[in-house]
Symmetry: C2
Subunit: 411 residues, 2 copies
Amino acid sequence: MIDRKQCEELDRRDPLAGFRERFLLPEGIIYLDGNSLGALPKAVPARLGAVVAREWGEGLIRSWNAAQWIELPQRVGDKIAPLIGARAGEVVAADSTSVNLFKLLCAGLEIASSRRVILSERANFPTDVYVAAGVRDLLRQGHELRLVEREGLLAALDESIALLMLTQVDFRSGYRHDMAGLTAAAHRNGALTLWDLSHSAGAMPVELESSGVDLAVGCGYKYLNGGPGAPAYLYVRRTLQDRIRPPLSGWMGHREPFAFTTGYAPAKGIARNLCGTPPVLAMASLDAALDLWSEVDMSVLRAKSVALSELLIATVEERCAGLGLALASPREAEHRGSQVSFQHEQGYAVMQALIAAGVIGDFRAPDLIRFGLTPLYLRYVDIYDAALALAEILRERHWNRPEYLRRAAVT
Amino acid sequence: MIDRKQCEELDRRDPLAGFRERFLLPEGIIYLDGNSLGALPKAVPARLGAVVAREWGEGLIRSWNAAQWIELPQRVGDKIAPLIGARAGEVVAADSTSVNLFKLLCAGLEIASSRRVILSERANFPTDVYVAAGVRDLLRQGHELRLVEREGLLAALDESIALLMLTQVDFRSGYRHDMAGLTAAAHRNGALTLWDLSHSAGAMPVELESSGVDLAVGCGYKYLNGGPGAPAYLYVRRTLQDRIRPPLSGWMGHREPFAFTTGYAPAKGIARNLCGTPPVLAMASLDAALDLWSEVDMSVLRAKSVALSELLIATVEERCAGLGLALASPREAEHRGSQVSFQHEQGYAVMQALIAAGVIGDFRAPDLIRFGLTPLYLRYVDIYDAALALAEILRERHWNRPEYLRRAAVT
């Protein structure tokens, strides 16, 4: 049996241990939901306070120039770039993940003009599927959204496929796609690829450029810790950038937004993917949250993510054997992102009881309890303590209370 | 000649004078650019601080339910509704003005299916024109964007027009359209109307429902004081709401976002116009900024807006006669919004000199200096002092310096 002393020893040797102090974490809580909403970096409140009081309050409209608000989308994009294996000028922060996906779907379908099929997997994150179906229905140009099982993706890559649209890490199971392999296969078949990095960026090295990825989107509020509803980002491979015709052709993507000409002319490069006025407060929070990443070695981060995940699986399987839990994530680390999920018939109530006990993970219908493992602010002892708390809840059936069985609006 | 004492007396009698203290305004600055970026309401820093520290930092993911983050878009929408003559459930806060315009253009064109023309005026705010052209080019369904001169709008309302898309108040001149009259004319011709309220809402009573307006969008960061890049909003007349097919069909507009089903089913009512995860920090700032409006009588606000505008025109025309300025706004208050613009050959440099002198307005190409009059935080003496400062700059040619003549990125 793994014991707590072993975990304490792992924490002592953890090269990332110092990052925990860079976050403001609530007392008495073990937070295993950074894949839904990242914790609050200490740098954020001061930065946001200054942006509000000094830049907005004192600087007012002058801050668009003086505080360089106007460049925030590119500056934040350039900070995200090294986390996802991209270069400066290939990423821009803007809008929501769903809106960015819409933009790149429309633009990608136009580039792949003679092909008409968006290929994805049935288990893709629902909003990605909704947005793609929305594009198909809006354009009325004979496009098709073809959803197949994960195992059938390679076989489905035929000459009809315009775009392969996938999320790198599955939000339910944490299954991680072979991004480089699938991208190469798509390219061999003449298709573009559009990857959603929401559940991978900031939790592991992501290699867009070396994988040859064409287009990507991702979320600012999960592993990037940008705050609730933080701006999302998008990536366009450099050689494709000037072929993008922005469907959301707002002024911030214009070559000269402040010339106020009547005709739309897209900006050079990644900036044409901007649309409306950037959300400065939200963008500043994300910007401040991103600063600590310059000190993080992504391979060390991944090693800790794997170690935390293995520890969670091992401890839960030791302590919860026979209590109705089944691992719902891949057992091999190479096929996993940075989350571990388990099935339980009463998953919703179990998670409510666990949250009440101070261990926050989350629930995904119909029966998954899900734990996000964020190497920057989690300790090995947290994982150990969480597994023991879960074991107690299952053993004592603490989940079996009316208030845990009744579902809330957001689960 | 108007003198400062008269203005002081007007301030003493001003029923809205007390609202100035609800804003944090920089010392020594006269701020006449609230139509570009509203000033900082005192309520915002505390609210934002609490949302960051308590709701995000302590509450973490639980705040989607516990702090009701999930309802923010509707709650903020319901606070905006009375300012624009709408009812609760007809407005939702989301995305940017440009993105919202895109949504309603697509949805409106689909409803007006047999008609194919978007009618607007050539002088409309550029991003509105860009977005409409983008929709036309994206859909490839034979739509046309027809831009006419303002005077030709009524005559252009023929049976080909699907949508009349206009901004209620012109961003350059402050010209105010007859919203009710144009909407009635559009309806007589079987067209829908889509109004952009960015330069009117919060500066005067806007009467969407009694004017019969079908669709509208607006901006959160101008007269609503929501902060730089604040979330925008959109309005859909109640009887049209269930006919809207959202082109940006993201999960937050889904009937059951957290059921995570594969098929998209739009929510009932206004909520289907949501797309991605709401930007909680930005939304909280706007929410806090909106609270003071429940105490504002919009007809009193309008009366002060008109009085400030008349004072500005009169004082400038008295003090700057023969100095190269020409009024570029309508002279009749009924045709104006809440801004006054003047032409000057060296408008850019004049505005830079004025800003350096502590009077902040803005410049719009090619030659307009523009003053936004925000009745909640401006005093009559501010207007008087601004006019005198402008007169001195023109008289002494203070604008004629290299640093004022060189244009910055954002003007």
